[in-house]
């Protein structure tokens, strides 16, 4: 999309950091501010930024629509699956003690991380879907095809 050299070069260096920062926010959700929602949005903005600079077809080559659609559902399933795992292990729904009964604190940390990843995957992929669908058919390089 952009012919601007500075933008293209700078984005190439920025996008990986945006994605890693998003993962960091999710992964450290139990220790520092942030969590699945914030981290998911940070990841999504990384992809959207890439799409804005290099064009949506380039972004969809990395992250096809089929993959985003599947990941939206997988995130929710990860969350609910953690809950049902706890239920099947003989504890209450989303009682993270079930993940490691000998070490409830560790189980809680693991459970929270799994759940936060579920939230983060869903939120980021819904954001990318929003971008894909709202800008559908509006970008010049798509129109020229």
């Amino acid at each position: 999309m952009s012919e601007n050299l500075i933008l293209r070069v700078a984005s190439k260096y920025m996008v990986p950091f945006m994605l890693v920062f998003g993962l960091y926010i999710i992964f450290h959700g139990d220790l520092s501010p942030g969590g699945g929602f914030q981290g998911g949005v940070a990841i999504a903005s990384g992809f959207i930024f890439y799409g804005m600079v290099y064009g949506k077809p380039a972004m969809q080559k990395i992250l096809p629509r089929g993959v985003t659609d599947a990941l939206i559902a997988i995130g929710v399933l990860m969350y609910a699956g953690t809950g049902f795992y706890c239920l099947l292990a003989g504890y209450r729904f989303l009682d993270y003690t079930a993940i490691s009964p000998s070490d409830p604190a560790g189980g809680e940390a693991w459970g929270m991380t799994l759940v936060e990843y579920g939230v983060g995957i869903t939120v980021s992929m819904v954001m990318v879907t929003c971008y894909n669908e709202i800008t559908e058919g509006t970008l010049p390089e798509e129109a020229s095809k």
Binding site: M52, L94, I134, T138, A143
Partner: protein
Amino acid sequence: MFNEFFVPIDLCLLALIVVLAVAVVQARNLLAASMLMSIYSLLMAAIWKNMDSLDVSFTEAAVGAGVSTVLLIGSLVQVGLEEKPRKGVHPAGLAAVVLAGGALLYGTIDMPGFGDPASPANANPVSIGYIRQDVEKVPDVGGHYKDFKQHHDYFHEHVPNMITSVIVSYRGYDTMYETTVIFIAGVSMILMLRGRRKTT
């Protein structure tokens, strides 16, 4: 913790936000209005940070200043950049806005000070339980759980971040359905928009 140092900075930021809010309403060009909205969100993120609510600040900066601006501009490509010319001030609308705003301002008089430890929200036993992280779990009826009662009767202070422990541990159900709401929003967007527009 309330920091006196931030008061002048906050006042400047809030003044700028009022200016921006008026500018957004006045802007004829919708692209300019979207960009002003983005700046507005960025300043709000700075204010949230000064109030030590970093979670809100992250979200405001990423969603408000970043993603939603992109989505607004994406929609503007469809609907055109210029606003329709408006007629003069609508008197009933103005009266309603002034009344509602006045009522809201009047309501703030009764509110406790920012970060006041004696305020009802902070002094409530439930909030204290959440802050100390010693909220009792729901009493169990099954037999299996009784063996672990000594260790597992409470949510213990496992997670240093109070907000995360409230969101995904004490209120895990709520967050699961919030995620489901986002899921449904994404699915409806796919169903309604995908493939409906012709790529000209």
